[in-house]
Symmetry: C2
Subunit: 291 residues, 2 copies
């Protein structure tokens, strides 16, 4: 039996508890309450990738948890802003009302802003990595992955696509997703190597294939999934006439591509041998998940 | 004659040019164009404070410019988000249409998000301070100053005040402004000491008084100012029935308080002797400015 589900569950519990603790140290305000709400739940897949890549590089969870919380704070901020009426206009996230629905838009904007600041603050802590150089590398790479050349660029391309005359091509949608989803997944998977100031090449190759498989699986779930399980509105891209991996490759083609990407991700972990089995199983999980 | 205007003008030119260069290295997108637009113009007072406090601690502008750009990127992001319809709903900033008016709300949200990431990325650069420890201190303190215990908290208190049954008291509005405006001004004024890993006490005392004087001056300008010179809508707090330093202290009382705060700010610089004359003159400027 795979050790992956237990490892994911441990990561979820650890990251959830620590992130809530960090938010609770802030002065009381609606924004703090809404930050705690926004950071709750979810798969914590990115946090898990940080903890697991850290383990492969001999970094204990007591150190890696800071970076795991940082990437989950960035992910949570991106969801809160993405759900805003001016962006995707979603009322439901993780099965609960979105922040701007439960509070208001102003609070949702500020929640995202403060979660981003929290992420960088966590990485600057003395115990966020064994050396100052490693902490600075984590910060510089997270700024790159989340900003105007990474996640925000992916979002910007997504917005531009909505008003474009023709649907995106496969290379265009791959580039968009590399920013929107791929950049944070790659940062998470490489974080352990960065903490140890080691080579990130194998983990980056793993993450590149994993991130794309993750997004293709999302597009498949959008068509085949159960909205109750997913805890969010489904099929919205197809309804909006947006190109997706499914619309471009067909349902069977998308499934085949996701399967081959998972194999590619798993192969990339060869340098880590048996130690990386949990990450291999995680790749399988990404396309087998139902939410 | 004071050396302050020339120093401010040099700081403006240097920070403006470097910030535009940094934004231009990002991949092209509407968000990048709008980031460049949002970062343009303004007084660059926070960037000037960074460069000037750095000079007092023997740190050259070639190093300090990174932190000066970082604080201006944070300031610009806060203005873009603050101007959004869900927040202050302002159409005009620095005499130009605000980002959400010129582009759209989604772009404005992403512009703020990417400017924040840029700020932290700049501080993680090898040349952002002489030592890794100093760079990490700049990052940790900026996360604190801009996040849910600093600037965002100030904004949250401001939003809460709008729906409160009674107007804010003087201590409440002072606490609100300490977050909303004071935290970034304090970070900027202390940045030079942090870069040199020196004591921040004198600069923090200077900044505390300066930040409050700045906000009182803003409230006075809101009543007495010229909207064309200010380049933004005036008198909106009074129209909204919000408590301001002017409504609480009266116009003359507010002016007297600002004047005594400037003296307090100037006195705090005693440990720096004549070297700090430009910062003393800057404090005077803050209450004498017409926009």
């Amino acid at each position: 039996m795979s050790a992956f589900p237990a490892a994911l569950s441990r990561a979820q519990d650890m990251v959830e508890a620590r992130l809530q603790d960090e938010i609770n140290t802030l002065p009381q305000s609606d924004v703090r309450d809404a930050m705690a709400y926004a950071a709750q739940g979810g798969k914590k897949l990115r946090g898990f990738l940080v903890l697991e890549s850290a383990r492969l590089h001999g970094i204990p969870p007591t150190i890696a948890v800071q970076a795991a919380c940082a990437i989950e704070a960035i992910h949570a901020y991106s969801l809160v802003h993405d759900d805003l009426p001016a962006m995707d206009d979603d009322d439901l996230r993780r099965g609960q009302p979105t922040v701007h629905v439960k509070w208001n838009e102003a609070t949702a904007i500020l929640v995202g802003d403060a979660l981003q600041a929290l992420a960088f603050g966590l990485l600057a802590r003395d115990d966020a990595a064994p050396t100052p150089a490693a902490r600075l590398d984590l910060i510089a790479s997270l700024a790159q992955a989340s900003g105007g050349a990474g996640m925000v660029l992916g979002q910007a391309l997504d917005i531009a696509a909505e008003t474009a005359a023709t649907p995106l091509t496969l290379p265009q949608i791959t580039a968009l997703q590399a920013g929107k989803t791929g950049a944070l997944i790659a940062w998470a998977a490489c974080a352990g190597a960065r903490m140890a100031q080691s080579e990130t090449k194998a983990l980056a190759a793993y993450a590149h294939a994993l991130g794309l498989a993750f997004q293709i699986a999302d597009d498949i779930l959008d068509v085949e999934g159960d909205a109750t399980l997913a805890g969010k509105r489904l099929n919205k891209d197809a309804e909006a006439g947006k190109a997706t991996f499914v619309s471009l490759l067909g349902l069977e083609g998308a499934k085949a591509r996701a399967t081959s990407l998972v194999a590619e991700a798993q192969d990339a972990l060869a340098p880590y041998g048996d130690q990386a089995q949990i990450l291999r199983d995680a790749a399988q999980f990404v396309i087998a998940r139902r939410n």
